[in-house]
């Protein structure tokens, strides 16, 4: 049922946008943004469920929560950057969209820095001085 709702919402928004685009391109863009946010919010609850299950699994298997947190952060950054970039791209600003994606990539890389530094430190300690 949920899938049908989402598809219905998307279809209605598409038809509205197609009809309005000739007269008011601005409103067409706003409708697109609003629809995107709605679907995103709708999915946020589902994603919350998934994350809860993952956290429970991590807790029961005794894995350090920090791994899970890092991975979840990565997913979050990826999704939000993607969402923003697509909206901007829809509005025709390709260059800004690519900048948003760049920011997402860099933030993901920042998450990797502590891991890299720890691994390198360990390797340096293992090697005889």
């Amino acid at each position: 049922m949920e899938m049908i709702q989402i598809v219905g919402l998307g279809l209605i928004a598409t038809i509205l946008i197609l009809t309005i685009k000739e007269q008011k391109p601005m409103f067409a863009f706003l409708i697109a943004v609003a629809t995107g946010i709605m679907i995103f919010m709708y999915l946020a609850g589902k994603i919350g469920g998934i994350i809860e299950v993952l956290e429970q699994l991590a807790e029961s298997s005794g894995v350090q929560m920090i791994y899970l947190k890092t991975i979840l952060k990565i997913i979050g950054i990826a999704y939000i950057a993607e969402f923003g970039a697509q909206i901007v791209r829809d509005a025709g600003q390709e260059s800004i969209a690519s900048k948003i994606e760049l920011a997402g990539k860099i933030l993901i890389m920042v998450l990797a820095i502590p891991i890299i530094s720890i691994i390198i430190e360990t390797v340096m300690k293992m090697l005889p001085a």
Binding site: L57, S61, G62, I66, I71, I74, A78, E82
Partner: protein, 267 residues
Amino acid sequence: MTWLAEWLKEIIFVVLLAAFIDLLLPNRSMERYVKLVISLLILLTLIAPVMRLFAPDAERQLEMAFMDSADSAGQQSAGTDTEEILRQGEQMRMKREQEAIQWASEEAAKRMKDQIERATGQPVDRVVVRVDAAEDDAEPSISSIDVYMSPKEREQELSRKDDQKEASPGTSSRIAIAPVEPVSIEVNPQEREAVGAEDTAIAAASGESSGREGGTAGGIIGLAPESDSGYGHEGANPLSRQIADILSRGWGIPAEVVHVVLQEDAK
């Protein structure tokens, strides 16, 4: 063998998670970056036992680093900041209250000392007032008062009473206490107070004659059986009762919380 199981569990979990994330990723443009981070995490898990050997605090370091990066992003830290500030405020309030209570008790002790000296004419060494901060914002109340009388003239009395006691043994209670004698004098105030309070309660409950009561009270308070016998006869009890009376009338506190300690100098 448990560490092996733990390790394997961790590896399996992280690899599964990585596959899951791969599916969840929105588009291909982020893929390479995400894959790098995830493979680093898997590597970290794989070398965890070695790391524990060579860098035992690596995990903590990692956690700190992540915390730092989260703070520098600085969005969700606002809530914790507020909590921190509130907690500090609470601490400062408690400290201020405690200072106020301490000041009040010192002041009250000074006044009481003057009052007792004026009323009884006996020199008072010092007065210790304990004020309890009540919970749930009620008024703080005086929980106990220890009056330490100066040792001066007591000494001669003491020796005199010693002789007296040698000559004529006192009541059975005194004899029972006698063996404890060497303990005396250097006992810390808490103990003394506790014993004193107990004694007062017992005495009040049994409603003994004033002389006997004085004997016990004096004995426990002074913590030396000789002095106890002495004051019992001479009536240190009236003095302590008088002091308790003065304080309870003047300050509106129950007489039970007043403990009078008759000090002797170390011989």
